[in-house]
Symmetry: C2
Subunit: 151 residues, 2 copies
């Protein structure tokens, strides 16, 4: 067992899981959200300003109990938890590739494409590196005909 | 504080952190690695076979103490931890986008592009979705002239 500690908190327009978009690209236009770091971690943002995209990891503290196999709302067949992005995972860690729009006057990161509830604990920020994180030709299994990206 | 539990273990060719490649695309050719799930989580792989790429999250249990600002080995200037992919993070969670080559006779996922030590605890498997995870035009800040992708 390992211990994860929050490094900050995410601010989004959604106040319950039922309000959240299925993914952060579904809202059109995607709203501005904020990632607020605890004071002790703010020095860790040094040199982050040149990245256009970041990967945020967060703890989905309102997810229900994990289910190994379940029927997704968009699907007519049962699927394994690791073949979906459901929050109900053994470790409820959410991941979003977000557009980074700079740091505001309060020191918060301004981002778009989040999909989680307001107040969700932030646990990591990583730079998005297209050299290792980008797979334009990736095939999407049973989701191949789903989840078109708006715009 | 939240508790993370291993869902399995990663098998790679590298037996110490000093042997590990800087990222999973640096080894040429990238070796075959394996992700072995604990029995209780194996049903969660249902329907995963059609994805060409996955996102693996793992716990970097041999990382040193986190440093908010440090000088990366490839750099001549100090950088913030959140502007790099260093393992020495407040929460030492590693993330790799891996090529998925199927499930072997022992039920292990066969993957390429890992960069971590043999025996690293696996904490999540997510499908890579090019509709939300792929940003071919992303700018890479101070790493813009680094990390070319082999091949």
């Amino acid at each position: 067992m390992f211990t994860v500690r929050p490094i900050g908190v995410l601010h989004t327009p959604w106040h319950s899981t039922s309000e959240c978009p299925r993914n952060g690209r579904r809202a059109d236009p995607p709203p501005l959200c904020h990632a607020e770091l605890l004071a002790e971690f703010r020095d860790g943002l040094h040199s982050i300003e040149g990245y256009s995209h970041l990967i945020l990891l967060y703890w989905l503290d309102r997810a229900g109990e994990p289910e190994m196999v379940f029927k997704p709302p968009f699907d007519d067949q049962p699927r394994g938890v690791f073949a979906t992005r459901t929050p109900r995972r053994p470790n409820p860690i959410g991941l979003s590739v977000v557009k980074f729009e700079g740091i505001d006057a309060q020191g918060r990161l301004m981002v778009r494409y989040l999909d989680c509830v307001d107040g969700t604990p932030l646990i990591d920020i990583k730079p998005y590196l297209r050299t290792t994180d980008c797979e334009p030709e990736a095939s999407m299994g049973f989701q191949a005909n789903r989840a078109p990206r708006p715009g």
